[in-house]
């Protein structure tokens, strides 16, 4: 039954099948008034159903050898287009180097770690770094910060933004080899203005917000990063129906993937850890289990190595598994080498 593969509600589909409209050709030859009469629905609803049916079954013309599937690209074109793929620096050179330049756009990156390791700090740093202007090598974009735990501290963001502006003027002086400090146009106030902050308090609010992000971003065109801190918080408590939770989470994951791909932005998800009983002992594992672990393109795990904070690439299609150390300073995320005075921005 071809009609089952149309994205319609169950009642609409049931009505279509019971009145004999089981194939796309039968729908294409029906008018909306016929449909409305046969299915006992309003004419507007019938028009919508017909629109869905015709958009799915339009036979597109073949043009050229790689239109085997319309809307497809071939790998060679993608390779060359990706050389202009932008990354968002984390302000820590070691971390950037294991990430291949920074957090990639068009991909969903999950960052997980124990409480206190610096996930929120990294999130705020990325929200600031995405705004680094293109003449300093950044993306010059805006950020969306979705806070589910209430851990975003505006004073801290302001402190890190100040530090970023200072670093940028020092860097542009280095770049232009001037002795005077170059006036960088961006100011701390502008940086804070370009972070769109949302606070969500329940999982329904979270799902609703993610559904509306696409339209929001189309209206505010320069958004280049969406940070969700943390994505799993509301799904861990008070969820009686685990099957519903899995469905909601996987649907959310697909929407985020689509957002990242279509709007060319980076999606960064923070996740918490939980204790899991594996192979006879309790080990730390990321929350929400195995199905959620497939919902990201890259995964970075933050952990303590003695007294040092380290990051490890756990999952990536193209990066080697590697780890790097970083530290959280008053100026933000930086290299952990305390002897390194200059912050290498690019």
């Amino acid at each position: 039954m071809e009609v089952t593969r149309l994205p319609l509600s169950a009642t609409q589909r049931g009505k279509l099948i019971s009145t004999g409209y089981t194939s796309l050709s039968s729908l294409s030859s029906a008018t909306s008034s016929d449909l409305a009469r046969d299915l006992n629905i309003t004419e507007r609803e019938a028009c919508e159903i017909l629109k869905v049916a015709t958009s799915t079954s339009s036979p597109d013309k073949l043009d050229g050898s790689h239109a085997v599937v319309n809307g497809a690209k071939n790998a060679w074109d993608m390779l060359h287009e990706e050389s202009s793929l932008m990354c968002i620096t984390t302000s820590c050179a070691d971390l950037d180097s294991i990430l291949g330049g920074g957090i990639n756009c068009k991909q969903v990156t999950e960052i997980g770690g124990v409480p206190g390791i610096g996930k929120t700090q990294l999130g705020i740093q990325l929200a600031i770094n995405v705004q680094i202007p293109p003449y300093c090598g950044g993306l010059g974009g805006k950020a969306i910060y979705i806070d589910t735990e209430g851990s975003f501290m505006v004073e801290r963001a302001s402190q890190m933004a100040e530090a970023c502006v200072e670093d940028l003027s020092e860097y542009s002086r280095f770049l232009h080899k001037n002795l005077q400090a170059c006036q960088v146009e961006i100011k701390c106030k502008d940086i804070l203005e370009n972070i769109y902050y949302f606070r969500v308090c329940t999982y329904t609010e979270q799902i609703d917000l993610i559904n509306h992000l696409h339209n929001f971003i189309l209206e505010h065109k320069d958004v280049k990063v969406v940070i969700i801190d943390s994505v799993t918080f509301h799904f861990r408590q008070n969820f009686d129906d685990l099957a519903l939770r899995t469905r909601a989470l996987s649907a959310m994951a697909l929407k985020l993937m689509k957002l990242a791909k279509e709007l060319c932005l980076a999606v960064v998800l923070m996740n918490q850890v939980t204790a899991k009983y594996i192979e006879g002992s309790f080990q730390l594992a990321l929350a929400l289990g195995d199905s959620w672990s497939h919902s990201c393109t890259n995964r970075v795990i933050l952990y303590w190595n003695g007294n040092e904070r380290c990051a490890f690439i756990d999952k990536s299609p193209s990066l080697k598994p590697a780890s790097a150390a970083y530290s959280v300073t008053s100026r933000g995320i930086r290299n952990s080498d305390s002897s390194c005075k200059r912050n290498k921005m690019m």
Partner: protein, 320 residues
């Protein structure tokens, strides 16, 4: 798949009188004939004043339905088809090829299942690069998690390439990579669209010889099915089974190697089992399980199900 109304155009005997007679029995389409009791229908037709015409109409519909079933094949024809059309394509990974008798077979749906970061995407990328490099034909890569990496493909293709001249090498890499077609889908209906489009293009034979599709990869099909599976109503199950049937049909009719990936979920105790449940278990022809030792590049592959090879055969290979 046709309502009686649309058949009237071609077979005038199925006129509105016939249609209203059938409607009174709850029959609106030709398929409904298959699910209703034909004896009751014939008996009821006998009692109508226009019995003869109605019975002619019924006979006409039954003969239309007869034309729809696929032709019978005998064993020799199947064997010839297998020898001529269903070859084994190497995956590019020696360890896997060794236990699978050369690689993955055309006409079969192969599933690779494994936990997160166990190497499933790497196997898909390797196979795509290998098939594109060693055979003429297209590779279609359908990605749901933005994990397709053209850089990895390039590194696989460039490896062991014979020509030493940079220009010739670059031309070869370009030619090979142009044959890998990439599409991203983010919900199951979009995947159906892509598959149906592909099916239409392949059956209408508009494509030239070098546009033959050799390999179709869906990474991963479980992330498309999990959001719709379960809950009230069985639509999710129906979509999953329809997808399986469509994929196997594409594989068999057009001699394509079909490779899909699946993830694992918690089972009883602390055992992991493949996602998508019991119904999906019987859909792929071949099921392979991947796992990777923590922190190393070595992957283990074991055969969960294969029509020609013993299960629980295992192999290891490295990702580099």
């Amino acid at each position: 798949m046709s309502a009686l109304k649309s058949l009237e155009r071609y077979y005038p005997i199925l006129d509105s009188h016939f249609q209203s007679f059938c409607a009174s029995h709850g029959i609106f389409t030709a398929e409904d004939f298959l699910t209703h009791d034909l004896y009751v229908l014939a008996a009821s037709a006998e009692q109508q004043p226009t019995a003869e015409r109605l019975k002619e109409g019924i006979a006409q519909v039954l003969s239309i339905i007869d034309e729809w079933h696929r032709p019978w094949l005998n064993g020799m024809e199947l064997l010839e088809d297998a020898e001529r059309n269903k070859h084994v394509l190497s995956t590019g990974i020696e360890g896997i090829d060794l236990i699978l008798g050369g690689g993955l077979c055309q006409g079969q749906l192969t599933e690779v299942v494994g936990t997160s970061s166990s190497g499933k995407t790497q196997v898909c990328l390797r196979m795509a690069a290998n098939v594109a490099k060693n055979h003429t034909g297209k590779v279609i890569y359908i990605d749901t998690g933005n994990s397709f990496s053209p850089q990895r493909i390039e590194s696989f293709v460039a490896r062991n390439s014979d020509p030493i001249y940079i220009q010739a090498r670059s031309n070869i890499i370009q030619k090979v990579m142009s044959n890998i077609v990439y599409h991203s889908v983010f919900d199951i209906f979009a995947m159906f669209d892509v598959l149906h489009q592909l099916e239409n293009n392949l059956t209408s034979q508009v494509l030239k010889e070098d546009c033959k599709v050799l390999l179709l990869i869906i990474d991963s099909i479980s992330s498309l099915i999990t959001p719709v599976l379960g809950g009230s109503g069985s639509q999710g199950h129906a979509l999953m089974t329809t997808a399986g049937v469509l994929l196997k049909k594409l594989a068999h009719e057009h001699n394509i190697v079909l490779l899909v990936t699946n993830h694992m979920v918690g089972g009883e105790g602390s055992n992991l089992k493949p996602a998508l449940g019991e119904t999906w278990k019987s859909i792929p022809h071949v099921r392979l399980r991947l796992s990777r030792n923590n922190g190393s590049n070595v992957c283990n592959l074991s055969v969960l199900k294969h029509p020609a090879i013993a299960s629980s055969l295992a192999a290891t290979f490295t990702i580099d």
